[in-house]
Symmetry: C2
Subunit: 239 residues, 2 copies
Amino acid sequence: MRFTSRASSDGVLTREFLLDGIPAVLRTPDGATGTRPLVLIGHGGGQHKAAPGVVARAHRLVSECGYAVAAVDAPAHGGRPRSPEHERLIGALRAGGDPTPVLTELHAHLAAQSVPEWRAVLDALRTLDGVGEGPVGYVGMSLGCALGVPFVAAEPRVRAAVLGLNGAGTSVEAARRITAPVEFVLQWDDERVPRDAALALFDAFGSTEKTLHANPGGHGDVPAFETDSAIRFLRRHLG
Amino acid sequence: MRFTSRASSDGVLTREFLLDGIPAVLRTPDGATGTRPLVLIGHGGGQHKAAPGVVARAHRLVSECGYAVAAVDAPAHGGRPRSPEHERLIGALRAGGDPTPVLTELHAHLAAQSVPEWRAVLDALRTLDGVGEGPVGYVGMSLGCALGVPFVAAEPRVRAAVLGLNGAGTSVEAARRITAPVEFVLQWDDERVPRDAALALFDAFGSTEKTLHANPGGHGDVPAFETDSAIRFLRRHLG
């Protein structure tokens, strides 16, 4: 684990780092020591660890909750190298037609790489003073949900997950294995995710506590009050 | 309008009253003067204006938000007289079989009476010092939703409604006419309301802002955090 930058703003310390060549970023309260909850944020498709939505959520979770927050560039995202298989699948997506089978294949391919990467990032971050071995949360919409479902299913340290804007095709089998509380965000008129597929993914979660929040509008129209709700949900479960 | 009882507890003044023979109850902060938001709570089937869930919500809305809160016994509920038509429909329900068509008929029959009654209660309450002509909210689950949907559709003074635990059969046409923000509560494993009917009712609301909250469990298992959410939703819209 190698820190590559360090900046402080409004009480939030932002440190970029590389772990085995994987670019990631950690935010903690300035001067944090000891142990605190750690939230991992998964970015959307075509985005990266410094996308505005990721940064804004991370700042709120650090400032309002005192949490540590990390984000990692997904494979083939944020300037990370693309394999011939990545190129083939991304090309197939851009060629048009029904994206669902291509996305399912792409997500499975990316998750096979991202799940062990994110688990290694957790291992490394939890050795740091100011992070420590507290409860872990996960937040990810769209691609961040597609990669988040198999991650949360594989990772017993995750105690609460905010997921959404994705359907069942990708990950219904992994969803059944999730037992941590889930808040699931669905856009009623999502032009990219069929409503039935999203409802089926919510249905599949094995969690005793799971809550579905659906609102009108398209994939990009999640109302601001859902960010407030996600923060309350994480606080309720991570403390 | 004739007040029939008056009691104060923990800063909440509770006054029962009759309006044209209809039994109702008003709660306000002790010593309230001037104008404040008014929330009407519709009770569930077989319940009445003093059911524990109604009282608990009313106390929170008065104590935490400073609102005025009213509840009215629905027709044929809380000791109100039953017509031969009420008896016939309630008897048909108790006879077993598919309850959906009977409930649809019963709800329509009750709403034809309750909608004008509740509007008259609003008219009367809004003349009182300590209530006044502020924004109005509505909260009703199950029967309170079945009667609430046509009430909210008919009543432009309602600026926000928390509804749920009911399906489309009863009131989809009225739901289309609703434009006030709606928070809709759905139980994923509701043994009384088919999931598709509840989703269809959410789909039907004409409101630009509507938000669906679904949780696992049966008709009576709505989690406590949904009460917190309902209060936040009302605060956001009523001030």
